[in-house]
C-alpha cells in the first residue's frame, strides 16, 4: 500500500476518531477516574474505593440493583417476547394488520415523559382512571395508590413501559420478511401447520434479531430514567429506585464521585449484558453456520 494512500486513510478516520474520543473515551475515563474521588463544589479529593464501599453499604444502592434486575428481567422475559409474538402474528398479514402495526408503534412516537405524566394521572389514588374502573366493576377492594404503595409501585411503573414494543416489533417484522417463502412452502408440503412453522422455522431464524433486541432492551432498561423521575422519583422507600435514578439522586446531593461510581456499575453491567447476550444468541453467526 502506498504511503500517501495509507496517510489518506488515517486522515479520513480522524474525524470519527476525534468524535469517538470526545464523546465516549473522554467521558468514560472521567467517570472511571472521578469515581475514586470525593467530588464536591470545593474540588476533588482522592478517596480510593470509598465511594464503592459506601454504595454497597447503603440502604438505597442494593434496592437500586435489585429493581434494575427486576426491570431487566421484565424486559427479557416479557418485553421482547411480546414484541416477537406481535411481530409473528402481524406478519401473517391477517385482516387489519396494518392498523394494529400502527397502534403498536404509536407509543414510540410519544415521548416517555409525556407518557409518564399520562400514567401519573391514570394511577392517581384520588381521581385515577384505574381506580375508577375497578370501582365500576365492583372491585373497590383492589383500589390503591398504585404508584406510591411499596408493593405495587415498581410493577405499576414497569407496566407503563412493557407495551412499548413498537420498535422491536418493526425490527422483527422486517427480519421475518427476509425469510424465503420456499422454506415455508417446503414445511407446508411436509404437513407443518402455522404454529409449527413459527416454532421450527420463524423463531430459529429470528435468533440474531431477537438477540439484538435483547441487547437494546437490556441496555435501555439500565439507563431508563424519565418515566421514573417524572412519577415516583425512585420512591416510595426506594421501591422504584433504579441505577440511573440513583445516579441522579447522588448528583442532586452534590455527591458527584458517588454518582460516577454508580455510573461505573451501569457501564460494567451493560458490557457484561452485551457479552452474555451475544454469546447466548450467537449474534453475528448465520443460522446454518
Amino acid at each position: 500500500m502506498q504511503k500517501s494512500f495509507r496517510f489518506a486513510i488515517y486522515l479520513s478516520l480522524l474525524p470519527a476518531l476525534a468524535l469517538f474520543a470526545t464523546f465516549l473515551v473522554f467521558p468514560f475515563f472521567t467517570i472511571l477516574v472521578t469515581s475514586f474521588f470525593e467530588w464536591r463544589a470545593s474540588g476533588l479529593r482522592f478517596i480510593g474505593v470509598e465511594n464503592y464501599l459506601e454504595l454497597w453499604d447503603s440502604r438505597a444502592f442494593p434496592s437500586a440493583l435489585r429493581n434494575t434486575a427486576i426491570w431487566i428481567a421484565a424486559a427479557v422475559l416479557l418485553h421482547v417476547p411480546l414484541a416477537v409474538l406481535v411481530a409473528v402474528i402481524l406478519s401473517r398479514r391477517l385482516k387489519g394488520w396494518k392498523i394494529f402495526r400502527t397502534l403498536f408503534f404509536l407509543p414510540n412516537i410519544v415521548s416517555y415523559s409525556a407518557l409518564a405524566i399520562v400514567f401519573l394521572g391514570f394511577y392517581n389514588a384520588r381521581y385515577g382512571a384505574l381506580n375508577q374502573v375497578l370501582a365500576d366493576i365492583g372491585l373497590e377492594h383492589w383500589q390503591r395508590d398504585w404508584l406510591f404503595s411499596y408493593d405495587t409501585a415498581l410493577y405499576a411503573l414497569i407496566f407503563t413501559w412493557l407495551f412499548h414494543v413498537g420498535l422491536y416489533m418493526i425490527i422483527i417484522m422486517a427480519e421475518i420478511a427476509t425469510i424465503p417463502d420456499e422454506i415455508y412452502e417446503a414445511a407446508v408440503m411436509d404437513g407443518a401447520g402455522e404454529i409449527k412453522q413459527d416454532l421450527y422455522i420463524t423463531l430459529p431464524l429470528l435468533r440474531n434479531v431477537i438477540g439484538t433486541c435483547m441487547i437494546l432492551t437490556v441496555t435501555q432498561s439500565l439507563i431508563y430514567f424519565e418515566g421514573i423521575f417524572l412519577t415516583t422519583g425512585g420512591g416510595p422507600a426506594n421501591a422504584t429506585l433504579t441505577l440511573s435514578m440513583a445516579t441522579y439522586r447522588a448528583f442532586e446531593n452534590f455527591h458527584w464521585g458517588e454518582a460516577n461510581a454508580i455510573g461505573m456499575h451501569i457501564v460494567i453491567l451493560g458490557v457484561a449484558a452485551i457479552l452474555i447476550i451475544r454469546r447466548l444468541f450467537r449474534i453475528g453467526e448465520r443460522y446454518f453456520d
Binding site: W39, R40, A41, S42, G43, R59, L120, N124, A125, R126, Y127, D145, F148, S149, Y150, G233, G234, G235, P236, A237, N238, R249, F251, E252, N253, F254, W256
Partner: protein, 434 residues
C-alpha cells in the same frame, strides 16, 4: 416583467417580521465605556412568581446606577435546572456575579469557597447594617463568623384555611391545639371535604415542622443548623413525627398525598376541595387568583392562621433568609458593583416592592406608612400580626436539614405514614441520609 405576487408578499412578510422582531427585542444595550457590568444568573423568569419584582429590581438598579454599574441577566428557567447549572459553575470556578436561591444552594456556594465573604462590606456601611433585623444574618453566618450570602426574605408561614368549609363543618374558629386540629379534621371529613392538602413534600414538611416545633424543646431542636442532626429518640421529634403520621392515619390528608409534587396539594386547596394547606405568604397571590385558576371567589373565603400547638400555646414558622443572594464576582470592580446591587435589593423601596408583588417581607426593619400597609394583602398583615403573640417560633426543615435528608423524607414518608415501618426506623433512615 411581471412579478410573482406570492413571492412579493412573502418577501414583504419576511421584512415585516424581521422589523417587528428588531422592534420587539428587549431594550438591552452594551455597557458604556466606564460602566461595570455584572451578571445575575436568575430563575425569576417565565411563570416564576418573583419575576415581576425581579424586573422592577433590574430596571431600578440600572437606572439608579446608570453610567456606573449595570446588571444583565442570564435566564435559567426552573429552579432545579438553575441549581444544577450553578453547582456545575462552582466546580468549574465560573460563577456569575450574582447568584440567588434557597438555603440549600447558598450552602453549596459556601462549600465551594468561591463566593465573597460579605461581613466587611456590611460592617463597612453601618447604616445598611442597622437596617436589618438582629437575627437576619444567622442563617448565612458560618461558625467562623463569615457571611456567605445575604438574605432577602423573612417569611411568616402559617396555615391557610377555607372559612366556608369550616362554617359548613360547624367549626367556629381555627383550632388552637393539636387535639382540636384532629377534631376539626374529623368534622371537615364528615362534611365531605379533604381536611388538609398534602403532597408528601413541602407542605407536609411544613406541618412536620409545626408538629415538632410546638412540642416542649421542639423549637430549640428546629433551630439547630450545620450540625449532624439526631432524630431517633429525641422526644419532640418523635412526638411531632407521630402526630404527622396520625394526620394520615385519621384521614386528614388527601388520598394522593405522596406524589412529592407541590401541585398535588396546591391544586386541591385552590380548587376549593381541601380545607387547609400549610404554606408561606407567597401563596397569597395564587389564592387571590393572580395568574392562577382558582375556585370562584376563593380569595374571599380564605384566612391565614398560626399553627395549632400544645397546651402552652400555638406556633409559627418564622424564617429569615430562606432565600438569599451570594456574590460570585472575582475582581474588586465587579465585587463592588455586586455589593451595590445587594444594597439596592435590600433598600426600603425594593423590600416594599417585594411585599406588594410577592407578599413576602424582607430581612430589614421596614417601617410602613399607614397607606403602604393598607396596600398590602390583608392575609399577610394578619399572619404578621398573629406572630406577635405566639408561644413557639421555629424555622422549617428546608432550613435545618440537608437536601439528602429531605429527599429521604419524600422517599420514606409514604411507607411510614402507612404504618409499614415504625417511628424509630423512619427517623434512623432520615438520620443515615445526612
Amino acid at each position: 416583467m411581471l412579478r410573482n405576487p406570492m413571492r412579493l408578499s412573502f418577501r414583504t412578510a419576511t421584512a415585516v417580521a424581521i422589523a417587528a422582531g428588531v422592534l420587539a427585542m428587549p431594550a438591552t444595550r452594551p455597557a458604556l465605556a466606564d460602566e461595570v457590568e455584572i451578571t445575575w444568573a436568575t430563575f425569576w423568569v417565565g411563570t416564576n412568581p418573583l419575576r415581576p419584582w425581579g424586573e422592577l429590581l433590574i430596571a431600578g438598579f440600572n437606572e439608579t446606577y446608570a453610567g456606573q454599574y449595570r446588571v444583565v441577566t442570564e435566564e435559567i428557567p426552573g429552579d432545579a435546572q438553575y441549581r444544577d447549572k450553578l453547582r456545575a459553575d462552582s466546580v468549574a470556578n465560573a460563577l456569575p456575579d450574582l447568584i440567588t436561591g434557597n438555603v440549600t444552594l447558598m450552602r453549596d456556594m459556601r462549600d465551594s469557597g468561591r463566593v465573597v465573604e460579605l461581613t466587611p462590606h456590611i460592617e463597612g456601611d453601618p447604616e445598611w447594617q442597622a437596617s436589618f433585623h438582629d437575627d437576619a444574618f444567622d442563617t448565612y453566618r458560618t461558625e467562623a463568623g463569615e457571611l456567605y450570602a445575604l438574605p432577602y426574605s423573612r417569611d411568616y408561614i402559617g396555615i391557610y384555611y377555607n372559612t366556608d368549609h369550616f362554617a359548613d363543618a360547624g367549626i367556629e374558629s381555627f383550632p388552637e391545639t393539636w387535639e382540636a386540629f384532629f377534631a376539626a379534621c374529623a368534622a371537615l371529613r364528615e362534611a365531605g371535604y379533604v381536611p388538609m392538602a398534602n403532597e408528601g413534600n413541602w407542605t407536609t414538611r411544613l406541618m412536620w415542622a409545626n408538629m415538632i416545633g410546638t412540642q416542649p424543646g421542639g423549637a430549640d431542636w428546629m433551630r439547630q443548623q450545620d450540625t449532624e442532626l439526631a432524630l431517633a429518640g429525641v422526644e419532640p421529634v418523635v412526638a411531632g413525627t407521630e402526630l404527622l403520621r396520625r394526620m394520615n392515619e385519621e384521614g386528614c390528608s388527601n388520598e394522593d398525598a405522596f406524589t412529592g409534587q407541590y401541585a398535588t396539594a396546591a391544586t386541591l386547596f385552590l380548587q376549593g376541595e381541601a380545607s387547609m394547606i400549610a404554606n408561606g405568604p407567597w401563596m397569597i397571590p395564587n389564592i387571590m387568583g393572580v395568574n392562577t385558576e382558582t375556585a370562584e371567589g376563593l380569595g374571599d373565603r380564605v384566612a391565614y392562621a398560626a399553627s395549632p400547638g400544645s397546651a402552652d400555646g400555638r406556633g409559627m414558622i418564622i424564617v429569615t433568609g430562606e432565600a438569599g443572594f451570594a456574590v460570585g464576582s472575582q475582581d474588586p470592580e465587579t465585587i463592588e458593583a455586586s455589593i451595590a446591587f445587594l444594597r439596592y435589593l435590600t433598600s426600603d423601596e425594593q423590600m416594599l416592592n417585594q411585599a406588594n408583588l410577592v407578599s413576602r417581607y424582607g430581612p430589614t426593619r421596614l417601617e410602613l406608612t399607614p397607606d403602604q400597609e393598607a396596600a398590602l394583602a390583608p392575609m399577610l398583615l394578619s399572619i404578621v400580626d398573629q406572630s406577635q403573640d405566639i408561644a413557639h417560633s421555629y424555622p422549617h426543615t428546608g432550613m435545618t436539614m440537608p437536601n439528602s435528608m429531605i429527599q429521604e423524607f419524600i422517599n420514606t414518608w409514604p411507607v411510614y405514614a402507612r404504618g409499614q415501618i415504625d417511628t424509630e426506623e423512619f427517623l434512623e433512615i432520615l438520620e443515615d441520609a445526612q
